[in-house]
């Protein structure tokens, strides 16, 4: 088996430099894959026992479908060609995509390593939605929605920003590893989804009073957060797409931002609710990670600490705002973490990007901040419209929501005919 030089078989160029970069990107992509485990754990942990298996199934199916669709069409829409608005090359076989941006990437690495790296990133977005819509959304509706996300919603917005010929990229918009492309985008979809599917039975009383529905396993939820954090280093460090001197800085600032954010959320909830809130603090770490993702290559340690702190400070209020003002029931805090953190991070990159970076883009800081805001707004409007359209069609056709009785029984029984915890005495 071994010791045949497999590159000879594929007839490809084989130089140490290139191969090392491929190895780097592959390792980082493997780390990112583990986010699927992280999201699955945090989403089941922060919701109720009676729907735990259903969340697992949703997360699994979304990754599975996303991997297949993104290879067949999503990648083409995202990276193919030089059109500023939508991709156009590489349909049905991503490895054949062509265009200024994608050809460069394929040459610097190998097509497959770049495609796999992009696949695991794409797999994150629908997973964010799954948390916000948990415990009441029909499996089939969720599956179709997440297929739509990897088929067209994510690729088009991604094209604008990560295809170097996209219109936002040309403007100078900077989102290094996905605060906007992945997280805000997922957050907007989650917002549309959670609003349109409605709150879980029992979340709001008729008088609009909120009734907290505690998660059923804080430990497994926390494990999910640690796994996400671990995998996040893969996202931010891997987005260099090569072994680069700057990796050390990226990993350090990523960590500092997460820590600053979690620290602030702990303090704020301690003061505000008189006891530190565990699940919000865990959310806080994620919020700091989301926020630093846009600018981790261009801010320094102190910038990172401030960005994390800003994400943490606002997170608590985003959560309360979502629940109390928007009346959106987001069981795991996905909207606040990913949309809130994503907007904060993209904007704050404007404030803290290094001067060298601004020079290289030939933008003043004010101009750059303006571009970042344009990007945030453009993506917001586009995604909110597109996601809502898809969701409304689903509502009219297969239906978005399970029956009240099914919801009360729990989605594990009603959608899968099993109990996820067969040997445990569960309080329903």
């Amino acid at each position: 088996m071994y010791f045949t030089n497999i590159s000879l078989l594929t007839g490809s160029a084989n130089t140490l430099d290139k191969n090392i970069n491929i190895a780097w990107v592959v390792i980082m992509a493997i780390l990112i894959f583990l986010m699927q485990a992280g999201f699955a754990m945090i989403e089941t942990g922060f919701t109720r026992a009676k729907s735990a298996g259903n969340i697992i199934m949703k997360n699994l199916m979304n990754y599975v479908i996303c991997s297949l669709i993104f290879f067949l069409t999503g990648f083409a829409f995202m990276f193919g060609g030089d059109n500023p608005f939508i991709g156009s090359s590489g349909f049905f076989d991503a490895t054949r995509a062509e265009g200024t941006s994608v050809t460069a990437a394929f040459n610097n690495l190998s097509p497959e390593s770049f495609i796999f790296f992009q696949t695991v990133l794409c797999g994150i977005t629908p997973t964010i939605v799954s948390g916000a819509m948990a415990e009441r959304t029909k499996l089939i509706a969720y599956i179709i929605f997440s297929a739509a996300i990897s088929f067209i919603i994510y690729p088009v917005a991604g094209h604008w920003i990560w295809n170097s010929k996209g219109w936002l990229a040309e403007l100078g918009f900077h989102d290094f590893a996905g605060s906007t492309v992945i997280h805000s985008l997922g957050g907007w979809c989650a917002l549309a989804g959670a609003k349109l599917v409605g709150a879980r039975v029992g979340k709001y009383t008729k008088e609009g009073k909120i009734y907290a529905i505690p998660g059923h396993n804080i430990v497994i939820g926390a494990l999910g957060v640690f796994i996400l954090w671990f995998a996040w280093f893969g996202v931010n460090c891997g987005s260099t797409l090569s072994i680069d001197y700057g990796i050390g800085k990226i990993v350090l600032v990523t960590n500092l931002s997460a820590c600053a954010s979690a620290f602030l959320v702990a303090i704020i909830t301690w003061i505000r609710y008189s006891k530190p809130d565990i699940t919000m603090t865990l959310n806080g770490a994620l919020g700091g990670l989301v926020a630093i993702t846009a600018g981790c290559d261009v801010v320094n340690s102190f910038g990172a600490i401030i960005i994390g702190a800003a994400a943490g400070c606002t997170l608590v209020f985003f959560i309360e705002f979502t629940e109390k003002v928007l009346k959106v029931d987001d069981p795991v805090g996905a909207i606040s973490v990913h949309l809130g953190g994503g907007i904060m991070g993209t904007m704050f990159t404007g404030f803290f990007a290094s001067n060298e970076f601004l020079q290289s883009r030939e933008l003043t800081r004010a101009q750059f901040i303006g571009v970042q805001i344009i990007g945030i707004i453009a993506v917001g409007i586009f995604i909110l419209a597109l996601a809502s359209a898809v969701l409304l069609i689903l509502k009219k056709t297969v239906g978005l929501r399970v029956s009240r009785q099914d919801e009360e029984m729990g989605l594990d029984i009603s959608e899968h005919g099993i109990s996820s915890y067969a040997d445990f005495q569960i309080k329903l």
Binding site: G202, E408, M409, G417, I418, Q425, I426, K427, L428
Partner: protein, 112 residues
């Protein structure tokens, strides 16, 4: 004194608690049980094999009340909990010889 043992579906618990509150019941004991009665369970598939879920999760709510209140409270419960569908549950009524409040040592109806 009587004890009411009320068996209901778990999702009715909040309603029942409200009824009992309204009826000025002094205390309750709630237990998760598995039960079957007329509602006989159902068949599911797990990894390609059928299996019978012939026991359904139910909630048992016990409350000890003065004998004179029994009829009134039973009526109130039926009124609020009944859906007319199989599985609505049952109430069993026991006589209780005595009740003692540990905190004070009070006995009988005073202890409720």
């Amino acid at each position: 004194m009587n004890k009411l043992e009320i068996i209901i579906k778990p999702e009715k618990l909040e309603v029942l608690k409200a009824v009992l509150d309204d009826q000025k019941v002094n205390g309750v004991m709630i237990t998760n049980i598995m039960g079957y009665g007329n509602q006989k369970g159902y068949t599911q598939m797990y990894r390609g094999s059928e299996y019978n879920v012939n026991l359904l999760p139910k909630v048992k709510v016990e409350t000890v009340i003065a004998a004179k209140d029994t009829a009134r409270i039973v009526e109130a419960i039926i009124k609020e909990i009944r859906t007319g569908e199989i599985g609505d549950g049952k109430i069993f009524v026991y006589e209780i010889e005595n009740a003692i409040r540990i905190r004070t040592g009070e006995q009988g109806e005073e202890a409720l």
